[in-house]
């Protein structure tokens, strides 16, 4: 199999006003739908949509780390857990407002992302993957051994936040909050990728030796990537806890981390749009497969395989392929005349 060659990253060559404007115009349609459609649907849809957007946030963070900076991480779920438990602890036991607790969860996760970043400096590839697995195991042990904070294996309840005095028990209202936060996260990620840091990420991924020889601060950049991914996951975790209302430590195990990696591989490594598409598609798909009853996981696996075989660089590669196919059709039709 080919080495992890640089994946097609959306071409960014400084702020090109036309392209930016076009990007914004194109994004308007999905944003409009995401804002205007939900009031016509039931809370089941709001719930699933919120789950999808939370996964988008986590996937965007992970893709920055893995797809752009080229660092494998199998512990995105741990940072999610840290965000979730911190948020619920600060709101229920300490009485802090959710709007302070949730970012605190993200910050704590980011801090621990620094702790992970240091050993990660020394390792690459499989070795890095195993180190992150170790980190995952350590967080799970901590969760189990500190039941007064985390509820241990019995789990712990989390409640919806209050906004302007009223509780966001309504799934629609909470969805809009999640939507706003995810938009912010997406915008930050896109800006980051256009910034020098983003280019530093790309440099590290393509060739660490070359990057270093050009004077790039390797260690700082790598740690920054881990911190950012951890922060995103922590925010996602804080939102998740409140959305579901109950945190079960089994939700933050190795399989969840694997799911996060699958989101970005299916969506497209290195692409923010890929993270969005992958996370939304793979959160909604299991809901669509309910009709398959006990075979739904099998069907999910087979569809996943199909997508990977047809689009090895991710769903985000669909766009260019469809466009070039359309262009070829147009050329043929012109030639035929």
């Amino acid at each position: 199999m080919s080495d992890s060659a640089p994946i097609a990253v959306p071409a960014v060559s400084g702020a090109v006003p036309g392209k930016l404007a076009r990007g914004l115009r194109v994004a308007l349609l999905p944003i409009a739908i995401a804002v205007l459609l939900p009031p016509f649907l039931g809370s089941y849809y709001h719930f699933v949509a919120s789950l999808a957007l939370i996964n988008v946030i986590i996937a965007v963070g992970l893709n920055l780390l893995t797809g752009n900076a080229g660092q494998i991480s199998m512990c995105q779920a741990s940072f999610m857990a840290i965000g979730a438990y911190t948020t619920s602890y600060l709101t229920t036991k300490v009485g802090l407002s959710y709007w302070l607790a949730m970012p605190s969860g993200g910050l704590l996760a980011a801090l621990l992302g620094v702790a992970l970043g240091f050993p990660a400096l020394r390792f690459r590839g499989f070795y890095l993957a195993v180190v992150t697995l170790g980190f995952l195991e350590i967080t799970q042990i901590l969760v189990e051994q500190l039941p007064s904070i985390t509820g241990g294996v019995r789990g712990i309840s989390a409640s919806r936040p209050y906004l302007f005095g009223s509780k966001l028990s309504n799934d629609l209202a909470f969805y809009y909050v999640v939507f706003a936060i995810s938009l912010l996260g997406i915008w930050c990620a896109i800006s980051l990728l256009r910034s020098p840091t983003g280019r530093a990420f790309d440099a590290i991924r393509s060739s660490e030796a070359a990057a270093q020889s050009l004077g790039m601060p390797l260690a700082r950049t790598k740690i920054a990537a881990f911190v950012i991914a951890a922060f995103y996951a922590g925010i996602g975790g804080g939102l998740y806890a409140s959305l579901v209302g109950f945190i079960d430590p089994l939700e933050f195990g190795v399989w969840t981390s694997i799911r996060h990696v699958v989101f970005i591989v299916v969506g497209g490594l290195g692409s923010v749009v890929g993270s969005i598409v992958g996370a939304v598609a793979l959160t909604v798909l299991p809901e669509l497969l309910r009709g398959f009853k006990e075979y739904n996981e099998f069907v999910f696996g087979s569809l996943l395989l199909l997508v990977l075989v047809l689009m090895p660089t991710g769903l985000v590669g669909l766009g260019p392929r469809v466009r070039s196919w359309l262009r070829r059709r147009a050329d043929h039709m012109r030639d035929d005349k």
Partner: protein, 291 residues
């Protein structure tokens, strides 16, 4: 700590370590021959155990069950390679890994739905036999496992170093296009590697089943196998065996000192310590990397 307890823990650790070694060997074999990290490997171990289970229902003698399982597994491996891996030949590494995960998921689901006993077992010629040396007891099945692991390790080492096909496999794993240019038939090497590594996985399943029982989750042993291979140095076959035994021992003593739920975390912490000292694992040489 009493000597008797120390020895018993050591024996238990080496025993469970031999399981990790056998799983790691199959995983590294697949990697050495194709460059693919096959995350379905654990579920292929489970597959082997279930195939043996079905065969043993036909009341066949153990040897026929074993050989039959290996044959079926080899065919299955070729089938997988032809239908599912072949189309991904030129895909990025991440895509292939996730694809193998998907395959593993499908295999696991199929096994889970076909046999719903919470735990099943495989009859083995060593059933009911316990070896006792003084105060210490050993399940003789472990001897079988470690014996097979070492035998496979030696066979594979000779194979990769001395035979033409073995060298061809290594070439394919390192650089497929260059290997093709040198006249290696990649289309033959891949299915062969998958056949052999699936058979090794199935062998692991048959050998560990009498100890651990058979259930659809038994493929989760791949994580430990992966860690064992990393500990030993990922591309090294002796590393798999040593890494597996060391991991099993570290775990067991960690469990004895800190409590059963801390087994995995002590193993991971010690693994990270080892890697900080030897970043490529115990036997891992510095690998030449494309810059």
């Amino acid at each position: 700590m009493e000597l008797g307890i120390f020895v018993q823990l050591l024996v238990a650790g080496l025993g469970i370590g031999s399981i990790y070694a056998l799983v790691a060997l199959g995983l590294v074999l697949a990697f050495k021959g194709t460059g693919v990290l096959n995350f379905a490997h654990g579920d292929l171990v489970a597959f082997g155990a279930y195939v043996a289970l079905f065969l043993s229902l036909l009341k066949l003698p153990y040897w026929q069950v074993l050989l039959g399982t290996l044959a079926i597994a080899a065919v299955f491996g070729v089938l997988l390679e032809r239908t599912l891996i072949r189309p991904l030949l030129n895909a990025p590494a991440f895509t292939v890994v996730v694809a193998t995960l998907a395959i593993g998921l499908m295999i696991k689901n199929a096994l889970r739905l076909s046999w719903q006993e919470n735990i099943a077992t495989l009859p083995s010629p060593l059933d009911g036999v316990t070896v006792r040396v003084g105060d210490v007891s050993v399940n003789p099945q472990y001897f079988w496992i470690i014996g097979c692991s070492i035998a496979i390790m030696i066979l594979l080492a000779v194979f990769f170093r001395r035979t033409l096909i073995g060298k061809a496999m290594k070439a394919v794993a390192q650089n497929r296009d260059a290997a093709r240019l040198m006249g290696v038939r990649v289309n033959r090497v891949f299915p062969l590697t998958f056949a052999v590594s699936t058979a090794v996985a199935a062998l692991a399943g048959v050998l560990i089943a009498p100890i651990t029982g058979i259930q659809s989750e038994m493929g989760s042993v791949i994580i430990k196998g992966f860690v064992a291979a990393i500990l030993g140095g990922f591309n090294s076959l002796p590393g798999c065996v040593v890494g597996g035994l060391v991991l099993g021992t570290l775990e067991t003593f960690g469990g004895a000192f800190f409590g059963g739920t801390f087994k995995d975390v002590t193993a991971f912490v010690l693994l990270i310590v080892v890697l900080l000292v030897r970043p490529n694992g115990i036997f891992g040489g510095a690998e030449a990397r494309r810059v």
